[in-house]
Symmetry: C2
């Protein structure tokens, strides 16, 4: 590991910090490489058969009302784990309100969704199925019934979860989550650098790494996934975005139009609070922010410096930090395509 | 190869047969296994690099106006190569008029689309991109521009098609077609049986094979893909469906609502004419027929016997033929997922 100057948690005494954040341990005092494995909850150990079943379900559009939208539709693991769009499109061409967050390395988030409203991957997996503008099933029971009506799912579910009625929404969510815990992109130039391969980063990227630290970005974007200090699962690391709202970016990119975490909690203190997202693989996940309003990475750097740190970075600083962020692009593991069981002709209208 | 009683081409002197069909050689006098490779046109040889590029393009939703619909959306190669639906859904939730035909073994069709309006896979590949209710790009040029605007496509295109401006619609179509020519499902129980593995079929399936032949199904559904005698590419093997329209199935399943090949040619003689489709992997491609109106395979057998041969099969015959058709389910080759190049944030609205 390579130590650089890292600001203390002083940056987190800003009004932007939540009480939860204030009570947390300080961020890692060193740069950390991405682990090659993600932790799994005690009641959902990651096994090869479960991962394979989860991969089938992740790619299965029959979990949506029209049979056209799967997890994969908005979380394209063949690219950045998102859908290339500012906001997603679900069944019947309906447009959602938020940018699809990448599923790559989602296992390293302690809470899920932009606003952290799901306490785990397992909880998250159930959300889109019944969201009327995402997968549009009228109930989770109907989603499960779809799978029960596909005879070829019986055997893989039973081999993972045991005999009997093992096709349940909880098991569906467990399998999908197990698959998602394998979606890790280690071995970025940054990871190789912090493991001692000093030439893995270009001189500009090293300058960017230092600028990233010195400007204060690392106060929030710390840890191996650059999404804040490691938290217990279910406990979020939230920040207010924008923290500094007296700048032109806020109107230009409509940064306050969505009240963030307040929408799900109803608490005024959660207004414009968001989970600190990972910075890994940003090269693949444009456009940026919860509303996908910023199209380029260098502009995202400018906006964040101004709205979160009240800083006007010099153009060389912007370019250096951008170059550093590009070095967070990991190696995407080669995956085989799952084979899905046949569809009875009676399944869909 | 195993010879069974096969009706002569006498069945093809029905009014249903096209002149093209009448001028063709008689169907194979023996049951044929599926070739393990598909022929490629002289100007588009199948190479590993081209197949890999074609796979990327096949899975790339950025070829559609919304960035949400790829070839894969309606031709799900992780299942039966279709979309499980009666008719497909394209951009903006728009519903198409015909059932998605499977892309598995499409390389063995001499013409493409249900009505054979594309003379080759290469021609077919360009169709959906600009179809307003499929991928919805306003022009092929705009589709190509999308790919040119993705920097990561430059290198793979140049390595396959040579330096310079190699991202063209013709090269896109060539690459996709090269990939599709690898989508072959050999080694079904039927294939093993005709190669001499006599226990590969159950006794019921052997009875079904004989009934399939004796009833006359094989007059049209001959050849290794059961889509008629092998034709030169671009020359179709068409049949009228329904040939016998004086039965209740025609109204029940709306079999004459779509005029078939007439819609694209404008010729009255093409009314209700359709390309003879493959019978391979029917277990995976319910619901059936050009309008996806028939939900189960045994009902499809009843309908075909009545509308094409004017026969009322006995229920044991229906079940035996259905069992035989189930034996045409091939081995789907294991595929790795392509990795798509990153999306510039400026690519989509």
């Amino acid at each position: 590991m390579k130590s650089l100057n890292i600001p203390s948690l002083a940056a987190c005494t800003l009004a932007a910090c939540t009480l939860a954040a204030l009570s947390l341990p300080s961020p890692a005092a060193a740069w950390e490489a991405l682990p090659s494995k993600a932790p799994a909850p005690a009641d959902n150990p990651t096994t090869p058969a479960k991962v394979e079943l989860g991969k089938m379900l992740f790619f299965d559009p029959r979990l949506s009302s029209t049979g056209t939208v799967s997890c994969f539709s908005c979380h394209n693991v063949m690219e950045g784990g998102d859908d290339h769009r500012s906001t997603s499109i679900g069944v019947h061409g309906q447009k959602g309100g938020r940018n699809s967050p990448t599923v790559w390395n989602a296992a390293f988030h302690s809470v899920q969704f932009w606003d952290g409203r799901a306490a785990s991957l397992e909880d998250q997996a159930k959300g889109p199925v019944t969201n009327p503008i995402e997968m549009g099933m009228s109930s989770l029971d109907l989603g499960v019934q779809r799978l029960r009506d596909i005879p070829g799912y019986k055997k893989p579910f039973e081999s993972v979860f045991g005999p009997g009625e093992s096709i349940t929404i909880d098991n569906v969510a467990k399998a999908i989550s197990a698959y998602e815990r394998t979606l890790i992109t280690p071995d970025s130039a940054y990871d190789r650098f912090v493991k001692g391969e000093h030439k893995a980063l270009t001189p500009q990227q090293v300058r960017g790494m230092e600028a990233f630290s010195q400007a204060g970005c690392v106060a929030c974007h710390s840890g191996p996934a650059f999404n804040g200090p490691v938290q217990p699962v279910g406990q979020g690391f939230y920040m207010k975005f924008p923290t500094y709202a007296a700048n032109a970016y806020v109107a230009k990119y409509k940064l306050m139009d969505d009240a963030g975490r307040l929408v799900s909690t109803g608490k005024e203190s959660d207004k414009n609070m968001w989970r600190v997202p990972t910075l890994r693989n940003l090269v693949y996940t444009a456009p940026y922010f919860h509303n996908g309003s910023v199209k380029t990475l260098d502009e995202a750097v400018r906006v964040m410096a101004k709205t979160q740190l009240d800083k006007d970075l010099s153009e060389p600083q912007v370019q250096d930090i951008t170059a550093f962020l590009e070095a967070l692009t990991g190696a995407f593991p080669v995956q085989t395509m799952p084979m899905l069981p046949p569809t009875p002709g009676t399944l869909l209208d």
